[in-house]
């Protein structure tokens, strides 16, 4: 954790406070009383399956949607009552690759800067953003001429044009190539180190695992898990025992059959409960059944396993 974020954790103002938040779409109760806080300086992950309510939550935070009840504050400023202050503190990278086809990249950034009350004094920062995001060559290009990856970079620049304290990245790496994904990871990590609070929603769970210090998992409009990433990983009661057997035709003892996750040729994967299935007992059972083991690997749970377990979409 960076020095800046450590300082923020120790008592600075909370970046985002969500209280009793409700939202309905017709008869669908999209958000069912969401309550949590994102601390200043955090790299916070917001995960959940499609339709969990992540984008709705972000839209309410950004003022793009209205809550039916409850509130969101950004650095103490209510997003409805004090929307000017809250929006000045918030930068949002939308999920869709939206752009205004009438303007070039630099024109668009200058317009966005103007909406936030900045004039020519902000132009050097805009040029810096163009450089940092490798957009210098595209500064005069019309947005309709850019690739999807380039449009994503422009959206990030637009979100940062007013130097917000909190940056919301709504699935920023969806549909981008590996190289750009790595570049975006590095860029958001750098922003975080400089003190920006980052709120990330993503479908790539390894992304959240690698970047986020704390994670909230939403499912069907409710928070089903909220903790430090490491604690969430520890909470998952399973780990995987990956074996390579000498023969491709082994018969697993009946007592171990419920633990078999997959068996393809010589690759045998067992899912073991941390407390109920000691590795030594499992290996002994296999040896007693005459199974010759060539290689053993024990894989700790990944966020994906935790996610599937918590949302009930896994085997557990």
């Amino acid at each position: 954790m960076s020095a800046v974020s450590m300082r923020c954790w120790r008592g600075d103002m909370d970046a985002v406070t969500i209280a009793h938040l409700h939202k309905y779409f017709g008869t669908v109760h999209a958000l069912k009383g969401i309550d949590f806080t994102i601390h200043a300086g955090e790299f916070f992950g917001l995960l959940g399956p499609n339709g969990a309510g992540k984008s709705t939550l972000i839209n309410i935070m950004a003022g793009l949607a209205r809550a039916a009840g409850g509130s969101i504050q950004v650095h103490g400023h209510d997003v409805v009552k004090h929307y000017r202050k809250s929006r000045m503190l918030l930068g949002v990278v939308p999920q869709e690759l939206v752009y205004d086809p009438f303007f070039s990249v630099r024109e668009m950034l200058r317009l966005q800067s103007g909406y936030f009350g900045f004039g020519r004094e902000n132009y050097p920062w805009i040029d810096e953003l163009l450089t940092v995001l490798n957009l210098q060559d595209k500064a005069t290009a019309n947005l309709s001429q850019l690739s999807g990856g380039m449009k994503r970079r422009v959206l990030i620049a637009q979100a940062l044009v007013h130097k917000p304290k909190v940056l919301v990245l709504d699935e920023p790496t969806a549909g981008v190539d590996v190289e750009l994904r790595q570049a975006l990871w590095e860029f958001s990590s750098r922003l975080h180190k400089q003190g920006t609070t980052i709120v990330l929603t993503t479908h790539y769970l390894e992304e959240a695992e690698a970047l986020c210090g704390r994670i909230a998992i939403l499912d069907q409009g409710a928070v089903v898990a909220l903790d430090k990433t490491s604690v969430l990983l520890d909470r998952h009661p399973y780990r995987l025992l990956c074996l390579t057997t000498q023969s491709a035709t082994v018969t697993v003892p009946a007592a171990l059959a419920p633990l078999v996750l997959s068996q393809h040729g010589r690759a045998l994967i067992l899912r073991l409960h941390r407390s109920q299935d000691p590795v030594s007992d499992v290996l002994d059972s296999l040896r007693n059944a005459g199974v010759q083991i060539q290689d053993i690997q024990l894989r700790e749970p990944k966020l994906e396993d935790v996610f599937l377990h918590i949302t009930g979409r896994g085997h557990a």
Binding site: A65, R66, V92, P94, E96, G114, Y115
Partner: protein
């Protein structure tokens, strides 16, 4: 008040239509000139609406105002529907811009386009008739109020419409008939009493009649009465437009 934010949004709206000025300024001028050439050629010798005023001179103020209001409507409505369909409306919605600033920026840009089309058309029309402006103040008042009213109506249409064809219906079944049946090509008194009464419920009639007063010094009804009526309509439509923005109707879900 976020003055810079408001000004930027206004400037962006003007910049947007200036980037496609051939479509947004020159095309309506050409269309109006074609109306002028055809109708003036056919009717010049046969129709005299006001004593001492040629039909061409009678027609030009109405055509100018019809172009002004149609383009004012087109500016705000097309910008909004495009932004909604493209999704780039979020850039404005994410910014610390109030509903009043949003309303003012769009309406002032609509006035700018309407007035610009009017001025260019006036310059071209000078080639067809002598066009002194004895009541410049009245002319400006009707031009600004009329284009402001249609700019606000364009906001309502642009916010309400979910698809381009819904906006086209708004334009073709409301704006176009009201502007064509507003006395651009004829005097109110050439109509039967029934249609005279119906015309008096058409706010576009008062705009056309008021602008004609600005150019010719004659009108079917008192220009002050027209000014009052247009002002009331402008306020009413503006309140509706502002309220839709304030409530986030079809903008903030």
């Amino acid at each position: 008040m976020n003055w810079r934010g408001f000004y930027t949004l206004f400037a962006k709206e003007v910049w947007r239509f200036m980037k496609v000025a051939v479509q947004t300024v020159l095309t309506p001028v050409v269309t109006a000139v074609l109306y002028l050439v055809v109708f003036a050629h056919v009717l010049e010798e046969h129709v005299q609406v006001y004593p001492g005023v040629t039909y061409t001179a009678f027609l030009i103020p109405g055509l100018i105002m019809m172009s002004v209001i149609q383009n004012a409507f087109a500016n705000s409505s097309s910008s909004l529907i495009q932004s909604k369909m493209n999704g780039n409306i979020v850039f404005v919605l994410l910014a610390p811009i109030s509903s009043l600033e949003f309303y003012l920026a769009f309406v002032l840009a609509a006035i700018a386009r309407g007035v610009m089309v009017g001025v260019v058309l006036y310059a071209v029309a000078l080639g067809f008739a002598d066009l002194p402006v004895p009541h410049l103040g009245m002319l400006l008042a009707f031009g600004v109020l009329g284009s402001g009213l249609l700019g606000a109506l364009g906001l309502i249409g642009g916010i309400w419409a979910d698809k381009y064809d819904q906006l086209a219906a708004f334009q073709n079944f409301l704006i176009l008939p009201l502007s064509f049946l507003s006395g651009v090509f004829y005097s109110l008194y050439s109509l039967s009493p029934f249609w005279q009464t119906v015309s008096r419920f058409n706010p576009f009639f008062y705009m056309i009649d008021g602008v004609r007063y600005g150019f010719l010094g004659v009108s079917d009804v008192s220009p002050y009465q027209s000014l009052w009526i247009i002002s009331l309509f402008f306020i009413a439509i503006s309140v509706v437009a502002w309220f839709m923005i304030e409530r986030g109707y079809k903008l903030r879900r």
